[in-house]
């Protein structure tokens, strides 16, 4: 996937950050396996992935809080930052638990980086108050940190990082510690903040919803590598791998064998059922092991107009989710989750399920996961 690194928006102008083949390990365990990435000036980039995928490590490497084992290129705003200590890099991190200095007031926290840079006190105060106004805390300058709520601390941490005018603002799961309502508000506010400051943001999160809401571009990471990169629409609609499909919230991911491939669509055989869908992988050939992914809301309980993607399923116990109901179905192709809008629909035990081919994505499974597929499908046949 690393060849995708050169096709990001960074190629249009000079990228603010260039990484090539960054490697990092912790006591023998590889955390980053050769990451290459360009970040454009003013971009909102999200590093998305499950825990252990290396996204936080990558952020710390960019901040200089960790020195990578090796890196071919690490350039920030035109200068190499290989071996440069964190204090000499013009980037700033908003830590997950804010890391505000408890012995200083809000104002002293925000002014910290300016005090280090020997900015005159009046100038410091002016800029700190401007930064606090930016995060909508204009009258909290004299407060102590322990007098603030979680959301307010978050904003102070943002102000403290923004006041020094960093080349890149690094956000390490900044919304993780907030309750849901506050998290949604802060998402909007971060978008606003980026718009107002025009700064480059790199966000680390494990929430695909956060990534999709806020970013210009998402870097999906898995086990120290970049699995897929693209804008939120690309990743949401066209995950290129089975892992990406699952991580981007496709409820139904099934495995089978490719029957027919064209430039746009393909047919895949899943346990004897033929499914037609959009091709999201290159080099797919008939006979390959592949996956098909369909979102629960794209499956309808009705007879299809033609015989394409038509399955007969047996309904299981519905799960009421408020705005909708998820119903698991057993079908010849495997278990399918179906999302129904009407919560009170009475379902017949047997139902016809169908979905449009353009809502179903078909992609290849990497060689290592294909091996697992071999053994698991063999196991199924013995049942």
């Amino acid at each position: 996937m690393s060849e995708l690194a050169t096709t990001g928006p960074g190629t249009e102008s000079d990228p603010i950050l260039t990484l090539a083949n960054v490697r990092q390990s912790y006591s023998g365990v590889l955390a980053l396996r050769g990451i290459s990435l360009d970040v454009a000036k003013g971009e909102f980039l999200t590093l998305l992935g499950p825990s252990g995928s290396g996204k936080s490590t990558l952020l710390r490497v960019i901040a200089g809080l960790e020195e990578p084992d090796s890196a071919d290129v690490m350039r920030l705003n035109g200068h190499s930052i290989v071996g440069v200590p964190p204090e000499a890099r013009n980037v700033s991190t908003v830590f997950q638990h804010y890391a505000l200095f408890p012995h200083m007031s809000v104002g002293e926290n925000v002014e910290y980086s300016l005090r280090i840079r020997k900015v005159a006190p009046e100038e410091r105060r002016r800029r700190a108050e401007a930064a606090l106004a930016l995060v909508r805390l204009p009258d909290k300058y004299g407060r102590r940190i322990h007098q603030l709520s979680g959301g307010e601390r978050q904003r102070v941490a943002l102000a403290r990082s923004l006041v020094m005018g960093p080349d890149i603002l690094l956000l390490d799961e900044p919304l993780g510690a907030l309750d849901e309502r506050l998290r949604l508000d802060m998402q909007i506010e971060l978008i606003e903040l980026r718009r107002k400051t025009g700064a480059t943001f790199i966000l680390v999160t494990h929430s695909q919803e956060e990534a999709i809401t806020m970013s210009d571009r998402i870097v999906l990471m898995r086990a120290g590598t970049i699995e897929q990169m693209g804008n939120p629409r690309d990743l949401f609609a066209s995950p290129a791998t089975e892992f990406a499909a699952r991580f981007m919230g496709f409820e139904n991911v099934l495995r089978g064998r490719i029957l027919r491939v064209s430039a746009q669509d393909a047919e895949i055989d899943i346990e004897g059922t033929t499914i037609r869908g959009r091709v999201v992988a290159k080099n797919l050939r008939p006979g390959d092991t592949a996956f098909a992914a369909i979102r629960a809301e794209h499956i309808h309980v009705a007879k299809a107009a033609d015989r394409t993607n038509h399955l007969r399923g047996t309904a299981g116990a519905p799960v009421y989710k408020g705005r909708f109901t998820d119903v698991p179905f057993r079908s010849p192709a495997g278990d399918l989750m179906v999302r129904l809008d009407g919560a009170d629909d009475v379902l017949p035990p047997q139902a016809d399920l169908s979905f449009a081919p353009e809502t179903c994505v078909i992609g290849s499974i990497g060689p290592e996961s294909a091996g697992q597929e071999e053994t698991s499908s063999k196991g199924k046949k013995h049942d």
Binding site: A63, G64, L65, P85, P86, E87, V91, S92, T93, F95, H97, A99, L100, F101, P102, H103, S105, Y112, S113, R115, I116, R117, R144, H146, R160, S161, M164
Partner: protein
């Protein structure tokens, strides 16, 4: 309702505990100090007392040589405590933040406890064979020709008393510092570096202010027991460096109990003054921080 009753029961237990501790504290700590004060203001007569107010005890102890001893003790204790701080600070910082948990850290922490179990006299008297006129240092100096004559100020001098006090009180300074450094969140140090501060600036603006309660505790835990130390001055002072502790021995041997009580009362007063100064210094920080830091100062 039930939660409220539970809360009241909890307060009841707490109040009982506070009451018990208060009574024990009054009986075990406050009463002896108060009787010390009372005895210092009466006159002794053999093994008994003459129950009449008198300041004779204070007049007795405030003779020239004893004021000199008090001042010398305060000077030596202050100097050694400062030396301990300078030695223990980098060591405790390395132990808390530089050293990854493992066998080395555990071993060092155990070694820091061991001195508490050793006989103070045994570990102090070793210095005699090192610093004496036929000790290791003088043998070395003679053989290398640096000083053919034995250097006499090495032993039975203020120098040897200072040296003898450093070792035993090192752990007393390291422990509070180590604990307060360990309590500082690593993320705060990272945040400081991230915001542009180098290691020294981070030390000055983040680590030292946050470790201040530990520094204060270290100073108190080191200086106060050292005020009562009679081992180093007896074994390494050789009668040339008398400290307060020996004065107590002298006064008690002479059955001058009011005199001993008066001297002790003055020491208690000096400590109270030192505490008040420390509190004033820490007052601003105490106002700004809750929880653990406030507890550590108490």
């Amino acid at each position: 309702m039930s939660a409220m009753r539970k809360g009241q029961a909890g307060t009841g237990v707490e109040q009982a505990a506070i009451g018990t501790i208060t009574v024990l504290w009054v009986l075990g700590v406050l009463l002896p100090i108060l009787s010390l004060l009372v005895i210092s203001f009466i006159q002794g007569k053999g093994l008994g007392f003459v129950w009449a107010f008198s300041t004779k005890a204070y007049a007795d102890i405030l003779v020239d040589f004893r004021i000199e001893i008090v001042l010398r003790t305060l000077r030596i204790v202050a100097a050694v405590t400062l030396i301990e701080l300078l030695l223990a600070f980098p060591f405790a910082l390395w132990l808390a933040k530089g050293l990854k948990p493992g066998w080395l850290k555990s071993t060092l922490l155990i070694l820091l406890v061991v001195p508490f179990f050793l006989s103070p006299a045994a570990r102090t008297i070793v210095w005699r064979s090192i610093l004496g006129s036929e000790g290791l240092v003088n043998i070395f100096l003679a053989q290398t020709g640096i000083s053919p004559e034995p250097v006499s100020w090495l032993l039975f001098s203020e120098f040897s008393v200072h040296l003898g006090l450093i070792g035993p009180y090192f752990p007393s300074m390291v422990w509070p510092l180590f604990i307060s450094f360990s309590l500082i969140d690593d993320e705060l140090i990272k945040a400081s570096r991230d915001l542009g501060a180098d290691a020294f600036t981070t030390l000055r603006h983040v680590v030292v202010p946050l470790a201040l309660p530990g520094i204060a505790a270290g100073l108190v835990f080191t200086a106060i027991p050292m005020l009562g130390d009679n081992v180093a001055s007896t074994l390494l002072g050789g009668g040339n460096v008398a400290l307060i502790a020996e004065s107590f021995d002298d006064l008690i041997r002479a059955m001058n109990y009011p005199g001993a009580a008066a001297l002790a009362s003055l020491l208690v007063l000096a400590m109270l003054l030192a505490f008040l100064v420390a509190r004033l210094v820490l007052a601003r920080r105490q106002a700004s921080e809750g929880g653990i830091f406030a507890e550590m100062q108490a």
